[in-house]
Amino acid sequence: MKVRILVSFKDSVLDPQGQTVKNALHTLGYAAVKDVRQGKVFELELEGATKKEAETLVPEIARRVLANPIIEKFDWQIIKDR
């Protein structure tokens, strides 16, 4: 099974890279862009895990290792079932 985990800054934390991208987009004339948040994507290949097991495993990994809960939040999804 393949899962995708998205880690990004919490809304309350300043994201200087996102801000810079936003400014760059504005300079290029994309006035419609209201905000940009930059994050990281992890793709994990899990072996022999059921969907149910993944639901415990993935958030644990994300919370414990991939994201720093003080500044970051995460979201995840299964992108390939087997």
């Binding site: 300043l14 200087p16 890279q17 810079t20 290792v65 720093n68 500044i71």
Partner: protein
């Protein structure tokens, strides 16, 4: 007293810190390997600067899982002294021994330059050789040194006088311009509430020899020596002959 400098894969200020503690401060110093469980009886653990594990996930995020760090955690919880410099500070934050987190410098560039920091709390084991308000000239070298903590945590840190160093100008004023990396409250270094763990972004080991432009960093090492040697019968410093040759 005996210092221990931890070596993670990717540490790159390990030898620098070792050199200064042993050859400049003239104290027995051990290198501690991250895969070991043995703290070799040190009185103070120093987590040096560098790019542990390439800083690939987040600065300091992987190093905290190493076997030795479990010992360091227990050592700190039992009141042992731990000093984290730059990447070492980031590891202490990731480990939860100190509150807060680091994000990218506000100008999104790596910054290597001399900065000035002001001693905010001189009554710590890391600063007692200095004076309150004393300005130290010490270099920084980091990409992720922009200190962040949620408002509630920040308030807590301030209330318990945990901020030990703030970025300031040459006269000691805490200004926006002096805050090169954008840290909240100009924070350059904090301690834990118990006072035995300190993390700071500037590199005191790079400011410990006149030849390299500043000796202000010695204040921190000298404070530790003062604090820890007062507490226990002094060990004999290493023999000079050995100390002279690196």
């Amino acid at each position: 007293m005996k210092f221990g400098v931890v070596q993670f894969p990717g540490s790159n200020c390990d030898f620098d810190t070792f050199h200064v503690l042993r050859n400049v401060m003239k104290r027995e110093t051990a290198l501690l390997w991250h895969k070991d469980h043995d703290l070799q009886g040190v009185d103070c653990v120093v987590l040096p600067g560098g790019f542990s594990y390439g800083d690939y996930l987040r600065s300091g995020a992987i190093a905290r899982f190493s076997p030795l760090m479990q010992e360091v955690k227990a050592f700190a919880r039992a009141g042992g002294h731990v000093l984290g410099i730059c990447n070492g500070f980031q590891i202490l934050l990731e480990l939860g021994l100190l509150p807060g987190a680091m994000i990218r410098n506000k100008n999104l560039k790596f910054l290597c330059q001399h900065v000035r920091i002001r001693i905010e709390n001189e009554k710590t084991d890391f600063t007692r050789a200095g004076r309150k308000g004393q300005v130290l000239r010490i270099p920084i070298a980091h990409f992720d040194g922009n200190y962040y903590a949620p408002a509630r945590v920040l308030k807590d840190i301030e209330r318990h006088r945990q901020v030990v160093f703030r970025y300031c100008d040459a006269e000691g004023n805490i200004t926006e311009e002096a805050n090169v990396n954008g840290s909240l409250g100009n924070i350059a270094g904090i301690r834990n509430r118990e006072g035995n763990v300190l993390g700071l972004m500037p590199h005191p080991e790079r400011a410990s020899e006149a030849l390299l432009g500043s000796e202000d960093g010695r204040t921190i090492f000298a404070s530790l020596i003062l604090s820890l040697e007062r507490r226990k019968p002094a060990r004999r410093p290493v023999r000079r002959e050995r100390a002279r040759h690196d």
